[in-house]
C-alpha cells in the first residue's frame, strides 16, 4: 500500500519558493490597484422614504415588458450584488431581455432606526414602493423578485396584498428556518433575542459578518486568502476578488426591532412554515399566494439550504409553481459565470410566459 502523502523535498522547495514569489509580486499588484467600484447599470431614484430609496435601472434596450419587476433584497448586505459589474449582473441581463427593473435599497440604518420593525419594512416600505410602481407603470400588479431575506419579506407581502403581485419570484429564500442543516438557525435557538437587542440596540454589521464567516471558518477566514495568492498577479481577477470582498464586508447594521422579530418569528418560531406569523398585526396566510411562483434555490447554499427554500411549495395556494435548482452556492447564484448563463434567462422566460 502506498502512503497518502508523497512530498519530495525538492518539489516542496520549489512550491514554497513560488508561493513566496507570488506573495512578493502580489505586493506590487495590490499596491497598484485603485479602489474597486460596483454597479454595471445606470439607475435613477424614483422614490425615497427615510433611508429607503426605490431605484429604476435605466435600460439601454427597448423595454418590451409592460409589467415592472421590483427586486427586494435582504436587509443584510447591500443590494448592488444584483448589478455588481458588467459581466456579473442579473439586472443587466434582465434589462437586455426587455424588462423594466426596479430595486429597493434599504440604506444603512442608524440609531434613529432602531425601532423600525418588520411592519415598517413590509407594510410600509415594500407596500408603498409597489404602489409607486403600479401608479407609475399603470398596472394593477407588478412582478416581485425577493432575494434571501427579501424573499421571505416578499412572501409575506404577497400574502397580505396578493392583488398587487402578478408574479412572485423567490431566490435563495428561506421558508423552513429549521432544517437540520441550517447552522445559522441552530445557533439562534438558544439565544435570548430580547436581551440581545435590548442591549445592543441595532445589531452591528461587524458582528453579523463575523457570524456568517464562522459558519465556514477555515474556508472563509483562511483558505480563501491563501487561494488569493494564485491570482495576485492577475489584475482583472484581483479586482473581481476585491469587489466581492467589498460587498461581503459592506454590511448595514440591522435595525434592532426588525432583527428581534425576524429571529423570534422566523428562526425560532418558524412561523412562516408553521403558521401564526403576523406582521403589524396582520396575519400572514401564504395560501393567499395564488399568483404564479418561481422559486430559485442553490444546491450548495450553506446559508439557506435547499430544503429550507423548497418548503415554499407546501405552504402557498398557487397552482402555478415552478422550481429552479442552481448548481452553486448562495453567492455564486448572483455572480458566477453559470449563474449569468442560467438564472436571468430563466427568470425572464418564466415571466414572459406569464405576461
Amino acid at each position: 500500500m502506498m502512503g497518502p502523502i508523497r512530498l519530495q523535498p525538492a518539489a516542496v522547495a520549489q512550491e514554497l519558493a513560488k508561493f513566496g514569489e507570488k506573495l512578493a509580486r502580489g505586493a506590487g499588484s495590490l499596491r497598484g490597484l485603485p479602489e474597486v467600484h460596483y454597479g454595471a447599470s445606470a439607475k435613477e431614484a424614483i422614490y425615497s422614504e427615510d433611508k429607503m430609496v426605490l431605484y429604476r435601472f435605466v435600460s439601454e434596450h427597448r423595454v418590451t415588458e409592460k409589467v415592472p419587476l421590483l427586486i427586494a433584497y435582504a436587509l443584510v448586505n447591500r443590494p448592488y450584488m444584483v448589478d455588481l459589474q458588467e459581466d456579473r449582473s442579473i439586472v443587466k441581463s434582465l434589462l437586455a431581455a426587455g424588462h423594466d427593473v426596479y430595486l429597493i435599497d434599504w440604506g444603512y440604518p442608524d440609531a434613529s432606526d432602531r425601532y423600525l420593525g418588520l411592519d415598517d419594512y413590509i407594510n410600509g416600505y415594500i407596500r408603498r414602493s409597489v404602489n409607486v410602481l403600479r401608479a407609475r407603470c399603470n398596472v394593477p400588479a407588478i412582478n416581485l423578485l425577493g432575494i434571501c431575506q427579501g424573499g421571505a419579506f416578499s412572501i409575506c407581502y404577497a400574502s397580505l396584498y396578493p392583488e398587487t403581485v402578478k408574479n412572485l419570484i423567490t431566490m435563495v429564500t428561506p421558508v423552513d428556518f429549521q432544517t437540520p442543516d441550517n447552522m445559522l438557525s441552530h445557533w439562534t435557538q438558544g439565544m435570548d433575542v430580547d436581551a440581545f437587542v435590548d442591549t445592543l440596540g441595532n445589531v452591528p454589521a461587524d458582528l453579523m459578518n463575523w457570524c456568517y464567516l464562522t459558519l465556514k471558518p477555515f474556508r472563509l477566514l483562511q483558505q480563501k486568502y491563501v487561494g488569493l495568492t494564485d491570482i495576485l498577479d492577475s489584475p482583472g481577477e484581483l479586482e473581481n476578488f476585491l469587489r466581492m470582498e467589498k460587498w461581503i464586508f459592506d454590511s448595514p447594521d440591522q435595525a434592532g426591532e426588525a432583527f428581534r422579530q425576524f429571529i423570534k418569528d422566523f428562526y425560532q418560531g418558524n412561523k412562516l412554515l408553521k403558521g401564526g406569523l403576523e406582521i403589524g398585526g396582520k396575519p400572514i396566510d401564504p395560501k393567499r399566494i395564488r399568483m404564479p411562483v418561481l422559486n430559485i434555490y442553490a444546491e450548495q447554499d450553506h446559508l439557506v439550504p435547499p430544503d429550507a427554500s423548497r418548503a415554499l411549495k407546501g405552504i402557498i395556494g398557487s397552482r402555478d409553481y415552478t422550481e429552479l435548482s442552481f448548481k452553486g452556492g448562495h453567492i455564486g447564484i448572483y455572480v458566477s459565470g453559470r449563474a449569468q448563463r442560467e438564472v436571468p434567462p430563466a427568470i425572464s422566460a418564466w415571466m414572459k410566459q406569464r405576461r
Partner: protein, 389 residues
C-alpha cells in the same frame, strides 16, 4: 545509493529546506520593502511573516487595506502551518509513510491540544479586523474586573453589603459575578471548539486513508493543506450542529449580553449624574420618533383614501442617476401621465394603491429640470397615484 544514505539525505534536505524557505521569504520581503521605500533594516531572520505584513500593508487605498489585512492574516496562518509541519518533518528525520504517523505529525505540529492552544480559537482570534468582529473582540476593550475575583476571592462576592455605599457595592458584586459567569460560558464554548479540533484529526485520518489508493496521493503542500481544511471544516460543522454547541453558544451570547447591559447601566448612572444624555433617553426619543413616523404615514394613507382624484398633471419626476445623463433614457413622464389618466386599469384598485404617497418623491422635475419643494413633490406623487384610483 544505500537506503540509509537516502534517508540521511532526505533529513538533510528537509532541514535545509526549512531554513531555505524562510531565507527566501525574507529576501523577497526585503526587496519589496526596498521598492516601497520602507526601511528594511529591521528585518531579522524569523521575522519574515511580520515583514510581509509591513510591506503589503503600506501605501494601499483605505478600502483595500481591510482585504489586505485579512489576506495577510490568512497567509500568515498558512505559513505557520507550513512551518510547523516542516519543522516536525525535519525533527522526525524524514517524511512519514503511514497514516498514523502523518496524523501524529499533524497533531505535534499543532501543539498540545489544550483550550489555550486550540487551532480553531487561534483562527478566530487572529482574523478579526475591520468588517468582522465577534462578541469576544467586541468585548476586548471593556474592563473585566472579574479577573481579580477567582478562586477563594469568589466567596467575597457573597459578602453582605451595608452602609452608605450598600447599593453600589451590591451592583459591583453582581457585575463581577456576571463576568465570572461569562468566563465560565466562554470556557464551555472553548471546550466545544476543542472538541472540533480533536475531531478534525479523526476526520483527517479518514481522508488520508482514502488517499492511499493509487493515483490519489497528495504531492504538494497546498494539496495537503486543502485536505486538512476539508477535515477541519467537516469536524467543525459536525460540532457546530450539535445540541451541546447550541447550548454553549446561546449561553455565551446571553451571558455576554448580561454583562454588557450591566456595564451600560453603570455608565448611564455615572454619566447621567453629570448631566450627559444617556442611551435610555435616546432610545426613548427614537422610539417616539418611529411612532410618529408611523402615525404620519397612517394619516397620509387615510388622507389619500379620502381625497378625490384631481385632474391629470405631470408625473413624478426623477432624481439624478448614478451614471452620466447621456446614458440615461428616462421615460417620457408627461406622456405616461396622460396615458395613465386615459387607460385606468380594469380591476378595481385596492385601498393600498391609493396610499403610497408619503415619501420624498423626486428631487428633480421632469422636463423642466426645476427642483420642486418637498411638499409639491409629495403632492405630485399623490396626484399621480390618485389618477389610478
Amino acid at each position: 545509493m544505500s537506503a540509509k544514505t537516502k534517508t540521511e539525505d532526505s533529513i538533510k534536505d528537509w532541514q535545509s529546506l526549512h531554513q531555505q524557505w524562510w531565507s527566501s521569504m525574507l529576501d523577497s520581503a526585503r526587496k519589496q520593502a526596498a521598492s516601497a521605500g520602507w526601511d528594511a533594516s529591521s528585518f531579522k531572520p524569523g521575522d519574515s511573516l511580520k515583514g510581509f505584513g509591513d510591506v503589503f500593508g503600506k501605501s494601499l487605498g483605505s478600502e483595500n487595506e481591510a482585504t489586505v489585512e485579512r489576506f495577510l492574516a490568512g497567509s500568515k496562518q498558512f505559513l505557520q502551518w507550513v512551518e510547523g509541519l516542516s519543522a516536525q518533518v525535519a525533527a522526525r528525520g524524514g517524511i512519514p509513510g503511514k497514516i498514523e504517523d502523518w496524523t501524529a505529525l499533524f497533531k505535534q505540529s499543532a501543539g498540545p491540544m489544550l483550550e489555550s492552544n486550540n487551532p480553531f480559537l487561534h483562527l478566530f482570534q487572529g482574523l478579526s479586523g475591520d468588517g468582522a468582529r465577534g462578541l469576544e473582540q467586541m468585548f476586548a476593550g471593556l474592563p473585566n474586573v472579574a479577573d481579580a475575583f477567582k478562586g477563594e476571592l469568589k466567596g467575597m462576592l457573597n459578602t453582605p453589603a451595608f452602609g452608605f455605599m450598600r447599593e453600589q457595592q451590591e451592583r459591583a458584586q453582581q457585575l463581577i459575578a456576571a463576568q465570572l459567569e461569562q468566563q465560565e460560558a466562554m470556557n464551555a464554548y472553548n471546550a466545544q471548539m476543542l472538541r472540533a479540533s480533536k475531531l478534525s484529526f479523526e476526520k483527517l485520518e479518514l481522508k488520508l486513508a482514502e488517499r492511499e489508493e493509487p493515483g490519489r496521493q497528495l504531492d504538494s503542500l497546498r494539496a495537503v493543506y486543502d485536505l486538512w481544511i476539508d477535515a477541519a471544516e467537516e469536524a467543525y460543522a459536525e460540532i457546530a450542529l450539535s445540541a451541546e454547541f447550541r447550548a454553549a453558544y446561546g449561553d455565551l451570547v446571553n451571558k455576554q449580553m448580561r454583562v454588557r447591559q450591566m456595564l451600560q447601566t453603570e455608565v448611564e448612572r455615572q454619566t447621567g449624574q453629570v448631566g450627559m444624555p444617556t442611551r435610555s433617553e435616546l432610545n426613548s426619543v427614537h422610539k417616539r420618533l418611529q411612532e410618529m413616523r408611523r402615525r404620519i404615514r397612517e394619516l397620509e394613507d387615510r388622507l389619500e383614501q379620502a381625497t378625490p382624484a384631481p385632474t391629470p398633471r405631470a408625473a413624478p419626476a426623477v432624481a439624478p442617476t448614478s451614471k452620466p445623463a447621456a446614458r440615461q433614457k428616462p421615460k417620457p413622464k408627461t406622456k405616461v401621465a396622460v396615458k395613465t389618466a386615459r387607460a385606468a386599469p380594469k380591476r378595481a384598485k385596492p385601498a393600498a394603491a391609493r396610499s403610497a404617497t408619503t415619501g420624498k418623491a423626486a428631487t428633480k422635475s421632469a422636463g423642466t429640470g426645476k427642483r420642486k419643494s418637498a411638499g409639491s413633490k409629495a403632492a405630485g406623487n399623490r396626484r399621480n397615484l390618485n389618477r389610478l384610483a
